[in-house]
């Protein structure tokens, strides 16, 4: 029966060896046993070295609560969406109904995603939320952040940061981003109480996700804003207070560890 702490120590040694392999095989062979001796003498069982990020999100709109924020830390090869291209089914579900479950599941299924997290609930206008994520310190040099949330008093509007560069941040360093709003291009912008899930549509059917795609084109573009009943759109349940301008969200990313 092996001592679990020994297993961990051996694991640690193995990682160091693997790390050294990138420098050169000859060095590995020479340095191997020395490393093991050092560990046995000095090291406690060592957890994987982590980097931690605090992502602070502020809703800058007047009257658009935001669905639970989805945050993904990933390599550049992972892409949540691109303007001019059709939204994935998972993004459509988030954009039309505010449900980020399928979106985050799909992200975590990718080998190019390091970690993801969801906000705790709806983020109301003017309010702020901190979301914390850890990744392996090895991934710091290739790290991008994507953040997506629905403006819930719309048919299918998203506020998003699309793969912003957060590579090589030092501990204590902060970066500030502002998010544009996009139309997912998956649902007609009727603005009706039956098709908007947010509180502005109370009393209507308030449908969220619906698989049919009936916007002007099946592609993501920068949102043109809502027209609203106050501005003469028949059937709209929205009022002028539900309008917004870019940017809709401020995001401060800080590496805290």
């Amino acid at each position: 029966m092996m001592n679990p702490s020994l297993l961990r120590q051996r694991g640690y040694s193995l990682r160091r060896i693997l790390g050294t392999l990138t420098i050169g095989a000859a060095v590995v062979l020479a340095g191997c046993s020395d490393d093991d001796d050092d560990n046995n003498d000095a090291q406690q069982p060592e957890p994987e070295v982590m980097a931690s990020y605090q992502v602070s999100i502020k809703n800058l709109t007047a009257g658009q609560p935001l669905s639970p924020i989805a945050v993904v830390l990933h390599e550049s090869s992972w892409k949540s969406f691109a303007t001019g291209e059709a939204a994935s089914s998972e993004l459509e579900q988030l954009a039309e109904g505010g449900d980020n479950t399928a979106y985050l599941d799909a992200a975590m299924a990718s080998a190019a995603v390091f970690n993801s997290a969801s906000g705790s609930g709806v983020l109301t206008p003017g309010s702020m939320e901190d979301i914390n994520l850890d990744v392996s310190a090895d991934s710091v040099g290739t790290l991008y952040l994507t953040l997506v949330s629905m403006l819930v008093n719309t048919n299918d509007a998203l506020a998003a940061l699309n793969a912003v560069d957060v590579k090589d941040m030092g501990v204590g360093e902060q970066l500030t981003f502002t998010a544009l709003t996009y139309d997912s291009g998956t649902e007609a912008n009727s603005e009706s109480a039956d098709t908007i899930p947010g509180p502005a549509a109370a009393g209507g059917a308030q449908e969220g996700y619906n698989a049919s795609r009936d916007d002007v084109r099946d592609a993501i573009y920068v949102h043109a804003g809502v027209v609203t009943a106050d501005d003469g759109l028949a059937g709209s349940v929205l009022l002028e207070t539900h309008r917004w301008d870019n940017p809709a969200i401020q995001v401060v990313v800080e590496r805290v560890q």
Partner: protein, 238 residues
């Protein structure tokens, strides 16, 4: 503070910079322009690299006749002539006509042997009276790589935004309606009452209405509004 000493230092730095940097700018670049709007068309775009210290327009300033012709009617020949006169490298009208909502087009510029360090992309927005999309005198990076810029909507300030069908000729009211837009544009709008602003500024957006056979405007409020940015411009320096 020793003034003469700081001047001497500045001269030394300037000399060092001159020795290191070549006088001519050399870059082989592609410029991709993506129309990010829901329903706004871009008329033929001027895409040009031009010298430091030059620009086609300035915010808060009156538009030149060439900018007016571009913004009211989509005619970039005048802008092209100005760019020619300052030795610009041009790749105009990459889309070969209108750049439709959601579409992308790519231009190639090679500035070898020139001093063209700034990039301008400019073209009219339809339907608007005198709205235009522009990336104005953006410094072209010298490091090879891919760079992303977002372009905003401007108002040339040369024509009243009455938002009804009319002319693309400078100084004439209304906006032109080329064939692809015919079915999208209303008729019979009485026209908004306003006047030319007189200076170039960030466009306040279309108002529009939902009456396609009357009302105040011929613009559709559900199709032809926008929020900035309206174009994504991806520059690849090879």
């Amino acid at each position: 503070m020793n003034l003469s000493r700081s001047i001497t230092q500045s001269k030394a730095l300037l000399l060092a910079a001159t020795l290191i940097a070549p006088i001519t700018h050399s870059a082989d670049l592609t410029v991709s322009i993506e129309n990010l709007t829901r329903g706004i068309y871009f008329t033929p775009l001027a895409v040009a690299a031009h010298p430091d210290g030059t620009s086609l327009f300035g915010l808060g300033e009156a538009a030149s006749a060439e900018i007016q012709a571009m913004a009211e009617g989509g005619d970039i020949s005048g802008a092209g002539a100005i760019l020619d006169s300052i030795g610009a490298t041009q790749a105009n009208n990459p889309a070969g006509g209108l750049l439709t909502p959601g579409a992308s087009t790519t231009a190639t510029l090679n500035t070898d042997g020139t001093s063209n360090t700034l990039l301008t992309v400019i073209g009219m927005m339809l339907p608007t009276n005198d709205g235009f999309v522009a990336l104005n005198s953006q410094m072209i990076p010298t490091e090879p790589g891919t760079y992303t810029y977002y372009a905003k909507a401007y108002d040339a300030g040369t024509e009243a935004n009455d938002e009804v069908r009319g002319s693309g000729a400078p100084g004439e009211a209304g906006f032109p309606v080329p064939p692809p837009l015919e079915a999208e544009i209303g008729t019979g709008g009485t026209g908004l009452t306003n006047s030319a602003e007189g200076f170039i500024h960030i466009h306040r957006g279309n108002l529009g209405d939902t009456d396609s056979t009357g009302g105040m405007t011929d613009i559709d409020s559900t199709q032809h509004r926008w929020l900035n940015p309206i174009a994504k411009i991806t520059v690849t320096v090879n």
